[in-house]
């Protein structure tokens, strides 16, 4: 049974229909000692049925440490969004429930071709960045 109401599924299907590029969600998980990995799996599994441009690729955090390192993942559950253009450098740590699900949907749309909704000034500031910047945004479930 879906976690999303039929009405919301329709809205999401319409939104995802605008996607022009495929988005792969790398789902880093482990079987033991991960309280929210199963919840996260249930949440991300809601997406592929709503768009043929969205796929989930499960990555075993214990067995595939190289991949985890490659994507800067040091804990699970974690998501990394990748398009056919490569890594979007957008990550989610923890189960994307509540408002974080909205953030995940927005991120999928962004990576899926909608592009950044930033001002010209912001884009210019970001274009001037020439060394690694890591932004961690802490949220709580709402």
């Amino acid at each position: 049974m879906s976690l999303i109401s039929p009405a919301d599924q329709d809205k999401l299907r319409d939104a995802f229909a605008e996607m022009t590029r495929p988005v792969r969600i790398l789902f880093f998980t482990q079987t033991l000692d991960c309280e929210t990995c199963l919840t996260t799996r249930q949440i991300v599994d809601e997406l592929p049925p709503l768009s043929d441009k969205i796929t989930i690729e499960e990555v075993n955090f214990v067995l595939e440490q190289d991949k985890a390192k490659q994507y800067g993942i040091d804990r699970v559950p974690a998501l990394a969004l990748v398009s056919d253009e490569g890594d979007s450098r957008i990550r989610f740590l923890g189960a994307p429930g509540g408002y974080e699900f909205v953030a995940l949907v927005q991120a999928v749309l962004l990576v899926g071709g909608r592009g950044p909704a930033l001002s010209a000034g912001s884009l210019a500031l970001l274009a001037a960045v020439d060394r690694p910047v890591t932004m961690q945004v802490f949220t709580t479930p709402t």
Partner: protein, 63 residues
């Protein structure tokens, strides 16, 4: 912002699931943004104010 710059990586972190990170970065309220373990921004700011603050260290270097 991560999408707009190849140098930026963005993590949305669920604070209650990772109390060690919440403690390390002294997360007393949300949203809280930590940039390169140096700049801390508490609360939601308008986009331009957020970026000015988030990239503050770069401006100092550039000025």
């Amino acid at each position: 912002m991560a999408f707009a710059s190849p140098h930026v990586t963005a993590y949305a972190v669920e604070a209650t699931e990772f109390p060690d990170l919440a403690r390390k970065y002294r997360v007393t309220g949300v949203p809280k943004t930590v940039v390169n373990d140096e700049v801390e921004i508490l609360g939601a700011l308008p986009e331009d104010a957020f970026l000015a603050e988030a990239l503050r260290e770069f401006r100092i270097e550039n000025s």
